[in-house]
Symmetry: C2
Subunit: 341 residues, 2 copies
DNA sequence: TTGTAGGCGTTATCAG
DNA sequence: CTGATAACGCCTACAA
């Protein structure tokens, strides 16, 4: 079997209690004792048994992450941020994805019980109030990109509304008159906040708004592709298409090209997220930048805080800022050139 | 505290041994007993303490995944495949990324000791022989996309060489005479196998090959972008650019467009991986499809097999096939049209 | 078919 | 400062 604390104790000539104290820095020990214990531990390549430790301390040094789906760069970025922050804090990360409804989430949460010290849940369709009910014990939880639920949980999110508002205002400033919007998945909090920002900006500027200009979408390329085909059939045709994420904007670009329309000449196109590939599109995609990895890192920090406080603390409610990234797909470059000449 | 097996035993009116037998399906139990125990367990919402269970069984029901870096869709796809397969088998997944050299990998492996029943390691730069030396115990390990090491570990990989060979042959068949290649990261096994397939196909067809046509790259868009700029300055200019992955091909498309060259008219472009976005490029990208999620799923199956066998089994060495995906960036569509007319 | 009891490897609480 | 020893919650011979 593996080497245990007993073996170290025997080798060092002390009791297991002393070895434990040395290795955990708990309690006082004579320097000489410490040296001998450490030497023995090193020579035997002792690694504490995590299960045993976890059994007595009821801590696991691992955090859980629940994700809705694992498609595209968005989620890999979140995980990257989480993983990095966790690693720095000496924590492990167990991920579990494809949880799209309440039942799947509670099931996954149940399965994680005892394995993690806290959980980050990303579920833009989640009903938070319901969640609190059947949550295993006082497990620290941080919600990512969820609707409301302030007070119940720590909640981290993106300034979706502000970003969408800014982008829409930008399009209006560029002289676009008929701005269409491709929505994200129905019932998704991110999606709805972006839609709301779009509407607010139109309203704010007294720009025209039509129901038919709010097209269905679900965050994947294909839905942007289809939405673009639909606006091409409209008359008058929208002169701008703001997509609720970059993936759909990329799909839209392809469709408009096929339809023989020029971007941004005939139709301006904008996205949301600023995934790395956005700048390489043709034309380079104007979009709203979001620090996705930063969101993940914040989630870890928030969780670790809650773990320390045993989850009895003031709830955190943080919204990460977004930033307009002006490239060529909306004609800002052309506009600027026009002004100069 | 949480409810333990003792509470269930008391509530059901049996001993903990009987409860354990019922809940684990070990040993015989009277149907009536089983019913009462299950009822009690359900009513108390009993969930076994994983630490305690793990302490006695020395199994954790979780698998580890070590990844080099977490950029782009490639890794999110791998994780997706792993997560799904693991979930189906009732296993959890702990991920750890950013391990690029041997030291980081062994450190991460050490940290996972006792937390996982097996580990999948993706490290195209790994020296497998060295790894075996300082591996904690008989931990089942499966290597993904690593060089050699047959016999030492279970190894899963992609048919990089075959895919690159087929693509290069395709370009030659299309009449391309000067085919350049953008390499992947140096020292990366995938990258080198793809390069070797490219070379072999040129050689096989007695096509021209030049050192300057093998350009440096590192799998990210920017390096493809730069490589394309370099070939534009060559004379004679290559009439095809095969990139070791799609991300670089996308960067190359952007650069060629900026340079005023037509694709595929002036230069054919091809990628590798077939990430979802490839088909939405302009022109849609011809590439080599790889079932990345399938690779992850296979890794899980392989690991679970090894876990069952306590790692004493014939080593698996599997290579996943690739498939040519012909779109427009290489002119095959035009060629076909030409034939028809 | 069921119960008793020992042990898994640590940590933590006491005495010394 | 150090050493016994009792938990922690579960599984599994071994007995009954």
């Amino acid at each position: 079997m593996a080497v245990t604390i007993k073996d170290v104790a025997r080798a060092a000539g002390f009791s297991v209690a002393t070895v434990s104290r040395v290795l955990n820095g708990s309690g006082p020990v004579k320097p000489e004792t410490e040296r001998r214990v450490r030497d023995a531990a090193r020579q035997l390549r002792f690694t504490p048994n995590v299960a045993a430790r976890s059994l007595t301390t009821s801590r696991t040094s691992t955090l859980g992450v629940l994700l809705p789906d694992l498609h595209g760069e968005f989620f890999s970025e979140v995980i990257r941020g989480i993983d990095q922050a966790a690693q720095e804090a000496g924590y492990h990360v167990v991920v579990s994805s494809s949880h799209n409804d309440h039942a799947e989430i509670t099931a996954a949460l149940d399965a994680m019980r005892g394995r993690v010290d806290g959980v980050a849940i990303m579920s833009p369709t989640l009903d938070a109030a319901q969640l609190r009910a059947d949550l295993p014990s006082a497990l620290p939880v941080v919600l990512l990109n969820c609707a409301d639920a302030r007070g119940e949980f720590d909640v981290l999110g993106i300034d979706n509304r502000g970003g969408a508002f800014a982008m829409t205002r930008h399009l209006i400033a560029l002289g676009r008159q008929r701005i269409a919007f491709v929505c994200g998945a129905r019932g998704n909090a991110d999606a709805e906040a972006r839609l709301s920002g779009y509407r607010a900006a139109l309203c704010d500027a007294r720009a025209e708004r039509r129901d038919e200009w709010e097209l269905e979408g679900n965050f994947v390329q294909q839905s942007g592709y289809e939405a673009a085909h639909r606006i091409m059939a409209m008359s008058p045709r929208p002169d701008a298409l703001f997509c609720a994420n970059d993936a759909m904007a990329i799909g839209a670009l392809a469709a408009l090209r096929e339809g023989g329309l020029r971007v941004p000449g005939d139709v301006a196109v904008a996205g949301f997220d600023d995934i790395p590939i956005a700048r390489y599109m043709h034309p380079p995609l104007t979009t709203v930048r979001v620090d996705i990895a930063g969101l993940g890192a914040s989630a870890v920090r928030t969780l670790l805080h809650a773990v320390g406080r045993k989850n009895a603390h003031e709830r955190v409610h943080e919204t990460l800022p977004t930033e307009l990234v002006i490239r060529d797909s909306c004609g800002a470059a052309q506009l600027r050139a026009g002004r100069v000449s």
